[in-house]
Amino acid sequence: MDRAPAESLIEASHLKVVLGGSPIIDNVSLAVRRGEIVVLIGPNGSGKTTLLRALLGLVSSQGEIRRAANLQVGYVPQQFPRDPSLPLSVARFVATTGASQARGDAALRRVGASGLARKQVATLSGGELARVLLARAIARMPDLLILDEPLAGVDVAGEAELYHLIAELRDELSCGVVLVSHDLHVVMAQASRVICINRHICCEGAADAVIRDPEFVRLFGARAASELALYTHVHDHTHRPSGEIAPREHAHG
């Protein structure tokens, strides 16, 4: 693409999050632009969710976070505890965004959940809840969609369809998307940019470049690597077992 870089929606520089005395996120800088799908990958406990929560202001962080003025955020959290003591229909839940009924209905239709409008949120299955949460997020007409493992509970067929849908929504809403996911294969196909994170940013770039990065191979194991083309270049650091960065003597080659 040789267009001028699109508007930056959110920018974090030198972000650090300390929880319970130890840094979960350290020195992370990133920017998300309009029209971009940024995928965060990393092993369990690598701080992906914490990074998203810091960007959203849900955990306190050091460093700087700049948001575009009047940034509308749509957020799908990793977990959504359903509360049977709170009577709430899907339609009413979507309406809590302030969206009109028509826009709410359109959002539910868009994710294939219009049949659920009158159901109670507390009775939804995992897959249904995933669609409803996504519908709710897009009903806000967000500038920035932040999706944390949004498709937990969705079956494999539905998953591919929904990831494709997320790419379409990005075009329709001309929003930026930050996505955390474990499903590397499906996600990689939709990503404009992949950021591989393990407390700090290990490697980032276009999907096909990242999957060749030795750091990626180390984090995701030989099996994932064997399915993907592998070419090695010298990485500028390595990790000690504790996750600390151990600098290497030679630079990128």
């Binding site: 319970g20 003591s85 009577p87 229909s89 009413r92």
Partner: protein, 270 residues
Amino acid sequence: MDDFLWRAILGAALLGAAAGPIGCFVLWRRMAYLGESVAHIGLTGVAAGLLLGISPVVGVVVLAIFAALTMARLGESARGLIPSGTIVGIVGHVGLALGFILLSTMDTVRADLLGYLFGDVLALSNREIYLIAAASLGLLAVVAALWRPLLALSINRDIAIAEGTRSGLADTAFLVLVACLVALGLKVVGALLIVALLLIPPAAARTFAHSPESMAIGAGLIGAASAPLGIAWAWYANAPAGPSIVLAAAALFLASLLVLQLRALLERRA
């Protein structure tokens, strides 16, 4: 029935009407423990108010608000080792114990202690009744004004904050609402029973509600209805009024459970 009886019913009914919607949020946010502890601290507030020579109601309002606001933050000092519910429980019982000791040093108050623990709406002055009635209407107005942020935070706190809900303002306002309600209810149903008015009407309303709004309105109506039912029963049976109001609310809760069971039975037949 006498005039003062009608006024007592009016005051208690409006208090119940305010307790219903506030209680819905207490239920949704799992804060029953906090309400109870604030009520227990209210007893220390009564004692402090009397000792300082100001109105006990003022003492309760001030101390209850202070307690509600500090308890929410006290958990942090335990660095997550002790669940916040436990800390809230500790503070509440300290408040109850301290209030009891302070009140027992005052000879004139000792006879009145039961009134503070279980309420005595029929002993209230007209001025107190009107104060309770007007303040209850005020609390209802605040709940209505804060409905959207309070509901968003109850549905999912993270989503609400991520989408720009100002949680600090809504959380503080909610704690103040609970504290004010507890303070108002202290002389109606008492420090030991006020939380019942926050719990029972929402629980009863949940059985037939299909939206948060209908649950809040239903809880308000059930809370309001408990007052005339309870006070009438107290009058005819010569029973203490506060506990009678709570039992009336519980009877409505049982009735709602019966209706729920009957409906399920009929649906299975159909």
